[in-house]
């Protein structure tokens, strides 16, 4: 069983690597935010799998910290992570289109 958990963890780590590619290629701030979200969720899953593989329950606490951090970092990013653009003409127009 331990080997299977390791394999699944390896697979998810490769997923994280692919997400890193998105950060590297992404042009907008929102793209990078997405990758951080991916890291939070996938990282939690990897840690749970590693704790199953080794039987070490301390890793679950780290998974808990990851889960909390993903939320905090996301909110901090949305607050500070971009030039504060007030609703300009174009976005007003976009909102108007929705009506």
């Amino acid at each position: 069983m331990s080997a299977f958990f390791q394999l699944a963890a390896l697979f998810l780590l490769l997923n994280v690597g692919a997400g890193l590619l998105r950060i590297l290629r992404g042009r907008t701030t929102a793209d990078r935010l997405l990758a951080v979200q991916l890291f939070g969720t996938t990282g939690t899953a990897i840690l749970i799998l590693l704790s199953l593989a080794t039987g070490e329950s301390a890793y679950q606490t780290i998974a808990l910290v990851f889960a909390i951090l993903a939320g905090v970092l996301g909110i901090v990013f949305a607050r500070y992570g971009q030039p504060s653009a007030p609703a300009s003409a174009q976005s007003q127009e976009l909102k108007h289109e929705l009506n």
Binding site: G17, A58, Y59, T61, L69, L73, P83
Partner: protein
């Protein structure tokens, strides 16, 4: 055993790529995001080295707290820069108008 080795190799390759990208990123914001990602990956390294307490500290302080602080610093820096740019354009405009006044008095 080989699976663990494969995990470690992938981890190290991703970690080093991430570190390199963070150092060479063209803008600071991307650097900070990559730094946070680097911290998360580094905490996996600590897990693999069987040091869960260090991993916990790395995730919470090294990645989360430092990342948030860097971001808010970046924000303050941007505001200062915008302020300075604003002041310099104001100053330029003022000196221009002074010159105009001087020209008007001359004639």
């Amino acid at each position: 055993m080989t699976l663990q080795l494969a995990f470690d190799v992938v981890l190290i390759v991703t970690l080093v790529t991430c570190a390199w990208a963070a150092l060479t990123a063209p803008d600071l914001l991307r650097s900070v995001v990559l730094f946070i990602a680097f911290g998360l990956l580094l905490s996996f390294v600590w897990v693999r080295l069987q040091a869960p307490d260090v991993a916990l500290a790395e995730a919470a302080v090294g990645s989360g707290l430092t990342g948030a602080l860097l971001l808010s610093t970046l924000n303050v820096m941007r505001q200062k820069e915008a302020q300075i740019a604003q002041e310099s354009t104001d100053a330029a405009r003022e000196s221009e108008s002074e010159q105009e006044v001087a020209v008007a008095q001359d004639s």
